[in-house]
Amino acid sequence: MSYNSDQVARALQRAAQQLTAEAGRLNDLDQAMGDGDIGITLEKIGIALADYAQTEPVDDIGKWLGKAGMAANKAGSSSYGTLLATALMRAGKAATGKSALTDDDLAVMFTAAAQGMQERGKANLGDKTVLDAIFPAADAFAAAVGAGESGAQAAAAALAAAETGRDAVTPLRSKIGRASWVGERSEGKIDPGCEAFIVILRALAQ
C-alpha cells in the first residue's frame, strides 16, 4: 500500500493530538522515577506538531518530516523531546524527495528513527529507555513487511513488539538518564519513554 502526503500529515496530527491527550498520564510515570516533565514536554511538542501539520503544506515528505523534527526540538527539548525530534529528522532524511510512502519506505524510516535515537542518546538496549520499545517495534515492522503482510498487520506487529519490549524492561533498574539516579526504586516502574512511544505508535497505526 502507498500513503500520500495527506495521509502522512493526518497521521502526524493524530500522534500529536494523542500526545497532548495523554500528557498527564505520561507525566505521572516520569514523576515516579524522573523529574515529572515528559508529559509537559510532549504536550508542548504535541501542540507544536499539530499546528505544524495543519499549517505547513507537504511537498517533499522527507523534508517536511525533517522540519517537523526541528519544530519539535524548539517546542520541547528534554531528553525525550530531543530524541523524538532526532527520530523525526532521521525518518525524514530517509524519505527525502518522496511525495508518497510505501510500506517498505516506512520500514526503512522506522529503523532510521530508532538508530537516530540511539546515536543521539548513546544508550544501549537494556538500559531501560525508549530504545527498548522502538528497536523491537522497528524490527517487527520490517519483518512483517518483508513477509508480505499488510501495513496494518505490520503496524499491529510493531505495536505488540513495543509493548513486549516495554514490559520486558519494567522490572529492570534504569541504567541511564534521570531514572538511573533513583537506583533500585526504578525497578518495577514503567519507563515513561517506552510508554510515550507506544502512545505515538498506536496513534500512527490507526
Binding site: 523529574d35 515529572g36 516533565d37 527539548s77 530531543t82
Partner: protein, 333 residues
C-alpha cells in the same frame, strides 16, 4: 501548588523579564528569543567565552552567574527542562569573540543532547567549542560509574574557576584544563526534606512523610537514592561529608573549599548549623577550610533541604576561586 505567579506558562518569561529589568547593567537579551541571555557587554573582546544552560527553577543557577569574572551567556529552558539546541547555538554566536567557547553545564540527557547539537552547528561557523560536563553528585552513581553522575551545586565552583581563568586572559586550553581540574577535585551530596512543584505540572514532584528525608537527591525535585527517617543536623552532615571525602580522598593538610547550599526553603540558620559541623569534621581530619560559601547557590524552587560541596584546592585553583567576580547573584571582591 502554592506559588506567587500569573499563568504557569508565563513563569519563565516573566521571571526573565524581571531579572533583566532589575539588572540592566549586567544582563541583556542576546536577541529576540528571551531564553538566550548574555553579559551586558558581550561579546568581550579577546576572551574565551563561557556558556552554560539548563532548565529554570534553580536560581542562581544558571543565569545568576552570568557576569564579570564568571559566565558570558546562558541558554534558559523551561522549568527543569533543557533549552533547545537552536537557543544554545544563537547564544554561542552572540558571545564568541574568536578565542573559543566553553560549554559548562550539568550532565543531564536533554542538555547533553542539545548542547552537542549546538556545538555541531557552531562548528559549521568555525567557532571552536569545548565542553566540560559537571558531574559532581557523588550520590548519583559510584565512582566507577562517575560518567553517569549528575551535576549539582559543584557547577558553581566550575563557573568560578573557568570564569577567573578566562578573565585573566587564559587560552581555551587553559580554561578547559582548570575547569576539569576543579571538577575532578569536587564532590557534592544533598538531602531533601520536601519536594517542589513544577508550575506547569501543578503537583509536587514526590510526596514524603513528616519524619522522612531523601538522601542524595538531585536539584530537579527528583527523589534521591534512598528514603530514610529524618536525622539530626550533625548526623546528616557527617554522613554527607564522609561520603564526599571517601570519594575525593584528600591528603591530610589539604585546603578545601566548602559550599553549604540551601535548596530553597531551608533557612540560612539551618545552613549555618550544618556549616558548623562541616567545619568541625574537616578540622578533625586535618583539612583546612579555604573559603566557605553558605547560602543558596543552586536551588530547586521551594524544596527544603541542603547540599554540601567540597573541593580540594591546589594553589592555582585557590587563586582562581579568590579572583573577583560580579554577577547578579554572586559578588566577590
Amino acid at each position: 501548588m502554592k506559588k506567587i505567579l500569573n499563568q504557569a506558562a508565563d513563569f519563565v518569561n516573566e521571571m526573565l523579564d524581571g531579572l533583566l529589568l532589575a539588572h540592566p547593567d549586567m544582563l541583556a537579551y542576546a536577541g529576540d528569543d528571551p531564553h538566550c541571555i548574555v553579559r551586558a557587554d558581550a561579546p568581550v573582546t579577546d576572551k574565551v567565552a563561557l556558556a552554560t544552560g539548563g532548565g529554570s527553577g534553580h536560581l542562581p543557577v544558571f543565569l545568576g552567574y552570568v557576569g564579570k569574572g564568571m559566565l558570558d551567556g546562558c541558554a534558559v529552558g523551561d522549568v527543569f527542562a533543557s533549552p533547545s539546541s537552536d537557543q544554545m547555538y544563537e547564544l554561542t554566536k552572540r558571545i564568541s569573540s574568536g578565542k573559543g567557547v566553553v560549554y559548562i553545564y550539568g550532565n543531564y540527557g536533554g542538555d547533553v543532547m542539545n548542547f552537542d547539537m549546538a556545538a555541531e552547528m557552531a562548528a559549521m561557523d568555525d567557532i571552536e567549542v569545548r565542553t566540560v560536563l559537571v558531574k559532581d553528585d557523588v550520590a548519583s552513581a559510584p565512582r566507577a560509574e562517575a560518567a553517569r553522575r549528575r551535576g549539582v551545586a559543584g557547577m558553581v565552583f566550575a563557573f568560578k574557576v573557568a570564569g577567573a581563568m578566562a578573565d585573566k586572559g587564559g587560552s581555551l586550553d587553559d580554561v578547559v584544563r582548570v575547569t576539569e581540574k576543579m571538577l575532578a577535585a569536587t564532590g557534592t551530596m544533598g538531602v531533601a526534606l520536601s519536594p517542589c512543584t513544577v508550575p506547569r505540572a501543578g503537583k509536587p514532584t514526590f510526596s514524603i512523610g513528616e519524619g522522612e528525608m531523601e538522601i542524595g537527591m538531585g536539584i530537579h525535585g527528583e527523589p534521591g537514592m534512598k528514603r530514610e527517617s529524618l536525622q539530626s543536623a550533625d548526623e546528616i552532615t557527617e554522613r554527607m561529608v564522609s561520603a564526599i571525602l571517601d570519594d575525593l580522598q584528600p591528603d591530610a593538610g589539604a585546603r578545601v573549599a566548602v559550599m553549604v547550599n540551601g535548596l530553597g526553603a531551608t533557612p540560612p540558620e539551618e545552613l549555618y548549623i550544618i556549616y558548623r559541623k562541616v567545619h568541625a569534621l574537616l578540622d578533625a581530619r586535618d583539612l583546612r577550610v579555604h573559603r566557605p560559601y553558605v547560602g543558596e547557590y543552586a536551588t530547586s524552587m521551594e524544596m527544603a533541604g541542603a547540599s554540601i560541596t567540597l573541593a580540594v584546592l591546589d594553589d592555582e585553583l585557590a587563586a582562581l576561586l579568590d579572583h573577583p567576580a560580579h554577577t547578579p547573584f554572586f559578588m566577590q571582591v
